[in-house]
């Protein structure tokens, strides 16, 4: 083993040191700069009572009003939620849930009646909620091909490997591929208002404007096919679980068909948590003073296509109004009030402790 530390310079270090010393009378004195001498001007904050205690009070005084504001706002929001999974035998959808088969051609329809005790003013947002559905599972999240969804023609016929095992059906590639697209939520919900004389009127549901702008306009693109989607998708197969191909999602509206169908886009934006809700429809506020959804009886007509009972999942319908800060969210307000109060109390306690025990101000001596 060669001696690695040996440096040949050591051998004549004496010599070279002497010659370099005499040869050049270069001054090796380090520069006298604030940086090199570590004398940079600096702000040296110290946690003193004068700075910390007011900070606590200020935090308290800011947080508590915000919390109260949030709480009040949240309380003014009206929200209605109904579970239509059909777990128990008295549930209207019990039969649909129980007799579900994948290969049925005849959709099962069930109807849920409910009553709103308060009228919903302004726009009402209609959500479907799923529970115990792991859209955030790693294998699920990655199982998509954004190039395909963006209309890339090569990806349309040769989807990314991430889509396995929902990549090809036989030899034909699936569009849209992947587990997310395959599991598209496909219940159809129709809402009817039952007025006092039992006449039923369908409530108009707006199905556009429910996705992120960037998703709708940037991320999702139909493959180029001269406006004819059927042609564009001709070499592809529909996802296994789907009843109809992607270009028939909304045949009536070419701006909402294929990959840029908003229900599809909403579904493709995966949820962070296993219990989640997704925007389904918007009920626009009518002109005039009449509430969007007056109190009274309603009828929800469900085309039950989406099985969740097998993995103990739940399906819900949620109706909600929103405010400037979004939907009903009591936690935020309460949390703000709590944190604000704790800060304030802490400020008081620290003030007392400081006054009782501190003697730093009086003794300038530095103990040795």
């Amino acid at each position: 083993m060669m001696a690695s530390s040996y440096n040949a310079k050591e051998e004549d270090g004496h010599h070279s040191g002497a010659s370099s010393g005499t040869g050049v009378s270069k001054n090796k004195k380090p520069d006298n700069t604030a940086f090199k001498q570590q004398r940079l001007p600096a702000w040296q904050p110290i946690l003193t009572a004068g700075s910390v205690l007011p900070a606590f009070f200020v935090i308290g005084l800011i947080f508590i009003p915000i919390g109260i504001g949030l709480y009040v706002t949240s309380n003014n929001i009206k929200e209605f939620e109904i579970d239509y999974t059909g777990v128990s035998s008295d549930s209207p959808c019990y039969n649909c849930a129980k007799n579900f088969t994948w290969n049925t051609t005849e959709p099962c329809v069930c109807t849920v009646n409910f009553t709103l005790h308060q009228p919903f003013e302004s726009n009402v947002f209609m959500y479907y909620g799923l529970s115990n559905f792991y859209q955030n599972h790693r294998r699920y999240v990655k199982s998509r091909d954004d190039r395909q969804l963006n209309g890339d023609l090569s990806a349309l016929t040769d989807p990314s490997k991430e889509c396995e095992p929902y990549r090809k059906s036989g030899d034909v590639s699936i569009a849209p591929c992947g587990a997310i697209a395959n599991s598209l939520f496909n219940d159809t919900l129709v809402l009817y208002y039952v007025d006092s004389n039992n006449s039923i009127s369908e409530i108009p549901l707006v199905k556009k404007g429910i996705a992120w702008w960037t998703d709708k306009h940037v991320k999702f693109r139909n493959p180029a096919g001269n406006g004819n989607l059927t042609l564009a998708f001709k070499d592809t197969a529909k996802p296994v679980n789907w009843a109809k191909p992607v270009y028939e999602l909304d045949p009536l509206d070419p701006e909402n068909n294929g990959f840029i169908n908003e229900d599809f886009i909403v579904w493709m934006r995966t949820a962070a948590l296993p219990t989640f809700r997704k925007l389904y429809r918007i009920i626009q506020k009518k002109s005039g003073a009449t509430p969007t959804l007056p109190n009274g009886n309603y009828m929800l007509n469900i085309t039950y296509n989406y099985p969740v009972l097998s993995f103990d999942g739940r399906k819900r319908l949620i109706l909600s109004t929103i405010s400037w800060m979004g939907g009903k969210n009591p936690f935020l307000g309460i949390a703000y009030i709590t944190v604000g109060s704790i800060c304030f109390c802490l400020g008081v306690v620290l003030l007392i402790i400081h006054h009782k025990y501190d003697n730093r101000n009086t003794s300038a001596d530095i103990p040795s």
């Binding site: 270090g13 940079l40 954004d146 962070a272």
Partner: protein
């Protein structure tokens, strides 16, 4: 000895020697060449555990079923680290190549086929005969064959080899020394059989076979590579060992790689974290098994298992590895790089420090190792060399007493004397400040003349006169040089000597004395004499020696002068000067003849020659007439006593390890205030046997214990008394919380500190034996100061190792000579004094500077800051990464334990290397708690480092706990808020990407607020880095989420548009603010309470700075005062045997000296005198007198 273990070399016979395939003289210290660099360097780097670990992670990530992160999250940092290291290694190796080439291409003259030819060093072969000229480096290990000097002598300087700056004599075997010229040498065909290559510098054994005869060879015949030929015109040598086989190369073993205690702690912690990582992985894998079994198997209609996975257990197994990948960021690879960068920064600050720059020698401090800086803040023991480190090794003729009259004043009172008009031969560098003495010489005072005549005659100095009047003295000890130079300046110029004569110029007149005898110096005699006959024929003996021995041998008529001189000697000794007394005796021709006869008889004696000679000398050195005394100052380096005082206030124990004699060492101990007269006792261990050493150690320890016991009793009684009186002391002790160090323990320290230990080399050898070392350590550590004298280089290292072993303390060794190398290498930190002659110590050291006093700045300022910064850095770093990583753990419970990450993969890649690296680096490089002058004013500020308070396992767990707490908050607050929240247009916020952006933003903000809290010193860099990092986070995030990038790589940037739509939501900002408040408020409250109720000294210093209280200066007056009388003895740094060399005339053609090393001789009589005097003159101080307050700086 087995045949294969021999080396056979035949001169001038390359064919014969090639059979053995000896190494050539080409040395190669470089590790790589251009082709091998990449593979070898990568191979070496992957031997580092951390790098292999990351490579392993990288491979794991390539398995699609496991890969939970993209491959680039690991490869980017890994590639960064590998390339930085590779560049550094390549630069180092380039310089090694350069220096190798330079050495290998040096020219040497080789005798080939009867003629001298120039050959490069690397082409020199074993068995060649090469010619060396004066001042040339020896190219290989040579057997000296002949030289231009008589008797085949030659002189070498071995400074680069063993650090001894004096010259050594080598002599060739007499038969070969006659082969003067190349023609004879070319026909020389002797064969050398010798030992195989080894690293013993002082040993060589071999045999020369030539012309049917055997000649044994020793180290005296060898010239080793690395030496320099001096004062010899030329010489011829036979190459025995070449290149890597030379003793120099054999000695340059792989240097021990030093690690700091923080390094070791960090490695332990990293291992713990790996354990923790595995635990987390297991928990999550178990969770995964459960989930896949209960939910996942039923969920398969929507999410089928990956192809190879067929049951939940296999899935759990894969998920374990997936989580290992995700959670690996708890120990990011950037930790090691950042630590190195910070240390590098600190090293540069050391190099740049103007206050550690010596303008006289134009040398700045240099951190030669960049990996030890923070250990400088933890030093507990300093081992210092004496000569050249504490002292300048410059002797100046300072004062003298002639015939009862004292000359010489304080240096600053009068101006320097100008000798040139009076004496053209004067040495211009000589300083003297008393013109009375010069007057006295000019007037022609006979005593004064005789005084300087003695100085010009009685010595063993050699002179060299290069041109007329330009004298250079070669003295073996600086003392002698100073004395002869003094005589030269006062008109008694020593010009030259032959074996039988000494030529001087006395007051301008050339006089030649015949030298009849030199009565040489030795340690027992403590004096030397010469007997000379002047041109008039008068025989006179001149003697100089230690006052203790010389004053006893005076003629009774000197009584009066003696008493005055004695007073003067006391006075000089009090000033810390080294004194000599001078005397002469006139001899009649008969006396001389008689003595000369007895001397010859003694000299020829075969048994007890030494004793007989000593008796003969004793016989004639009687009834002398006192001339006076000289006082020589062994100049301390600047600021040494002050530095030692400050360092000992910082609770650093200083040991002096010196090769010097006990007297000299003790003397220096007093003059640099390590030893004081206030000390209760100075234990002296000088036994020659195991028993006596053990006895002495035990009695010292016993005495110490007794003393401690008594003083404790006394103190208890004092406290009790004061309590009874109303409890003044008790209240002070317990009533007021702010002074952190209890006066009680201080009292203890100071009482136990008032002892000192002086131990001798041979006693030390016994004390270092396995059965006694514990006893030695306990005694030595009970003492405030320890001085080890007459120690060998090896013993120096042993002492250091001993303390390392028994005390678990950080040690620092400081020295300037090659004899300090072993100790410099074995201590945790080695410091070399640069700017002096040899640079061996510097080359072996970790830090170098030119003045001992810079040590206080190195330790108390740079070391303290480095330690503080490193600790703060590590605390924050671990906190940050736990906060960052543990979020994944919590998320695991909500995503089916599927190893889904919370954040975007780019965020994971960039978090450690871009978003959070610079602010913490800035803190690690620039942070200061108190300014530099403050830490010198309050040495107690150094203590947290010694006690390892700022970063230890406890602190680590606090950081980890804080990190985990933060991760809980960072996950569950967004979870609780976002799960039901919607955007203001009704779109739910609980989608994965919004959640990821919210958590990531909250994380970046929380850790930034934390660094804002942690940073105590906000330079412009901190501002730029903190705000810049925050800004860069937002800029990079918006860029990565932009439509442009998505359009180019739709599959790589899934997060398109997330930043805009998320950060526009007020709810998101409210969430972030809430999470930040919940994370930071408890920290703030805790820090405030700690600062308010239990402030550290540094906090208090900082606070007082803030409120601009009036400052106190350390009581410097105390340091200047020197108390007590200490008679300094005759401290000749002198070796015996030189007189013989002169009178034999062997070296007379030379202009320099040859010194052989002699076994150390020792006498303890001087120190006994010292102790006797001490006990009679100074009352022993008692416990009542040594009050603790006087010994500390308030």
């Amino acid at each position: 000895m087995c045949v294969c273990e021999e080396r056979r070399v035949r001169a001038n016979d390359r064919e014969y020697n090639e059979k053995f395939q000896y190494a050539s003289n080409c040395i190669m210290t470089s590790k790589y060449n251009i082709i091998t660099f990449l593979p070898v360097n990568l191979f070496e780097q992957f031997q580092e555990v951390a790098n292999t670990y990351f490579l392993f992670l990288l491979i794991l990530q390539l398995i699609p079923q496991i890969s939970s992160l993209s491959w680039f999250t690991t490869i980017v940092p890994l590639a960064l680290v590998l390339s930085i290291t590779a560049v550094k290694d390549a630069t180092d190796d380039y310089f090694r190549h350069k220096s190798d080439n330079q050495v290998n291409n040096r020219q040497s003259q080789v005798l080939i086929r009867g003629s001298l030819q120039n050959e490069k060093w690397m082409n020199v072969r074993v068995g060649d005969i090469i010619k060396l000229e004066n001042n040339q480096f020896v190219a290989a290990d040579l057997l000296l064959l002949s030289s231009t000097e008589p008797h085949g002598l030659c002189y070498i300087e071995t400074a680069e080899l063993d650090g001894e700056t004096n010259m050594k004599v080598r002599q060739s075997v007499s038969v070969t020394s006659e082969l003067g010229d190349p023609n004879n040498l070319a026909s020389f065909d002797g064969e050398v059989v010798c030992e195989p290559p080894n690293n013993k510098l002082d040993r060589f054994s071999g045999t020369l076979y030539w012309r049917e005869k055997k000649y044994s060879l020793t180290n005296q015949n060898m010239l080793l590579r690395g030496c320099v030929l001096r004062n010899t015109e030329a010489c011829y040598g036979l190459v025995i060992f070449a290149g890597p086989d030379t003793k120099l190369m054999q000695n340059s073993g792989r240097t021990k790689f030093k690690r700091t205690s923080i390094d070791r702690l960090m490695n332990t912690l990293v291992l713990w974290i790996f354990g923790f990582l595995v635990c987390m992985g297991m928990i999550l894998a178990v969770g995964n098994a459960g989930w896949e079994k209960e939910v996942g198997s039923l969920f398969q209609s929507y999410l089928a298992w990956d192809t190879p996975v067929n049951n939940f257990l296999f899935s759990a197994f894969l998920s374990f590895w997936s989580y290992v990948i995700i959670l690996n960021t708890v120990v990011p690879i950037s930790l090691y790089v950042s630590v190195e960068v910070i240390r590098l920064g600190h090293s540069y600050f050391i190099n740049w420090d103007q206050q550690m720059f010596c303008s006289q020698c134009n040398t700045a401090a240099e951190a030669r190792t960049t990996t030890l800086n923070e250990e400088l803040g933890q030093v507990e023991y300093i081992f210092s060399d004496k000569t050249g480190t504490l002292t300048q090794n410059i002797m100046t003729f300072n004062k003298c007493s002639i015939n009862g009259q004292s000359y010489g004043k304080d240096t600053h009172t009068t101006c320097r004397l100008d000798f040139t008009p009076f004496n053209p031969l004067a040495d211009p560098d000589f300083c003297f400040y008393d013109d009375k003495l010069l007057e006295s010489v000019k007037v022609g005072d006979s005593c004064t003349h005789e005084f300087f005549r003695l100085l010009s005659l009685c010595h063993t100095v050699m002179s060299e006169e290069k041109s007329e009047g330009e004298l250079v003295y070669k003295a073996q000890s600086p003392d002698e040089g100073a004395l002869v130079t003094a005589a030269r300046n006062f008109g008694f110029v020593f010009r030259s000597r032959t074996p039988g004569t000494i030529t001087t110029t006395e007051m301008g007149r050339t006089v030649t004395y015949s030298l009849l005898a030199i009565l040489d110096f030795n340690n027992i005699r403590k004096r030397m004499s010469v007997i000379v006959r002047n041109p008039e024929g008068r025989i006179r003996l001149y003697c100089k020696g230690a006052d203790t021995v010389l004053l006893e041998r005076l003629h009774p008529c000197n009584q009066e002068v003696m008493s005055i001189t004695s007073d003067h000697l006391n006075e000089y000794a009090t000033d810390g000067l080294r004194t000599l007394a001078l005397a002469y005796r006139d001899l009649s021709e008969d006396e001389w003849e008689a003595w000369s006869e007895s001397h010859r008889f003694a000299d020829k004696a075969t048994d007890c020659r030494e004793d007989r000679l000593a008796a003969a000398y004793e016989e004639i050195e009687q009834n002398m007439m006192l001339l006076g005394a000289t006082a020589i100052e062994d100049k301390l380096q600047e600021g040494v006593p002050e530095t030692i005082a400050v360092l000992s206030l910082a609770n650093i124990k200083i040991w002096v390890l010196t090769g010097d004699k006990q007297e000299t060492a003790v003397n220096i101990g007093y003059s640099c205030k390590m030893l004081t007269d206030d000390m209760t006792e100075v234990f002296i261990i000088s036994g020659h046997t195991v028993q006596s050493v053990r006895q002495e150690l035990r009695s010292a320890l016993l005495m110490w214990a007794l003393f401690v016991f008594l003083s404790r009793r006394a103190r208890e009684r004092m406290i009790e008394l004061s309590r009874r009186r109303g409890g003044g002391v008790g209240k002070q002790l317990h009533g007021s919380p702010p002074p952190p160090p209890l006066p009680l323990s201080n009292l203890m320290d100071n009482i136990s500190g008032e002892f000192a230990l002086v131990i001798n080399g041979h006693s030390l050898a016994h004390a270092l034996e396995a059965d006694m070392e514990a006893e030695f350590v306990s005694t030595a550590c009970a003492c405030k100061a320890v001085i080890c004298c007459r120690v060998t280089p090896l013993q120096k290292a042993q002492v250091v190792e001993l303390i390392k072993k028994h005390k678990k303390a950080v040690t620092l060794a400081i020295g300037d000579g090659a004899n300090d190398i072993s100790m410099i290498k074995s201590a945790h930190i080695g410091v070399g004094i640069s700017g002096q002659e040899g640079i061996q110590a510097v080359l072996a050291s970790d830090y170098s500077f030119s003045q001992f006093r810079f040590l206080q700045r190195l330790l108390l300022v740079h070391g303290r800051w480095s330690y503080l910064r490193m600790c703060r850095f590590l605390c924050y770093f671990f906190y940050k990464n736990f906060a960052f990583t543990m979020v994944h753990f919590w998320f695991g419970f909500f995503c089916g334990f599927s190893a889904q990450t919370v954040y975007d993969q780019y965020f994971i890649t960039l978090f450690n290397i871009v978003y959070t690296s610079l602010p913490v680096l800035a803190m690690g490089i620039f942070d200061q708690d108190v300014p530099d002058h403050r830490s010198l004013e309050y040495p107690k500020l150094y203590e947290p480092g010694q006690l390892n308070l700022l970063f230890n396992k406890r602190e680590f767990f606090i950081c980890i706990a804080q990190g985990i707490y933060t991760s809980v908050v960072l996950f569950f607050v967004p979870y609780a808020v976002l799960s039901n929240a919607t955007q203001s247009n009704g779109v739910p916020l609980a989608d994965y990407q919004t959640f990821a952006v919210t958590t990531a933003t909250a994380l970046v903000i929380v850790v930034s607020v934390q660094i804002v809290l942690d940073t105590g010193f906000w330079t412009v860099f901190n501002h730029v880095f903190v705000w810049g990092s925050l800004g860069s986070y937002f800029i990079i995030m918006f860029a990565l989420h932009s439509q442009t990038l998505f359009r180019i790589f739709p599959n790589q940037f899934h997060f398109v548009g997330s930043a805009q739509s998320t950060l526009l939501q007020p709810v998101v900002w409210l969430t972030i603010a809430l999470a930040t408040a919940i994370c930071i408020v408890p920290v703030l409250a805790f820090r405030f309470l700690k600062l308010d109720l239990k402030p550290q000294l540094s906090d208090t210093v900082r606070y007082t700075q803030l409120v601009r209280q009036k400052r106190r200066k350390p009581p410097e007056g105390r340091l200047g005062a020197r108390g007590g009388s200490r008679r300094s003895g005759y401290a000749f740094a002198h070796q015996e045997g030189f007189g013989e060399l002169i009178t034999s005339g062997k070296n007379m053609r030379l202009s320099s000296l040859a010194l052989a090393s002699f076994a150390s001789r020792h006498s303890s009589s001087w120190i006994d005198t010292l102790r006797r005097k001490k006990h009679t003159h100074t009352p022993p101080s008692t416990s009542g007198e040594c009050s603790p307050e006087t010994n500390q700086i308030k």
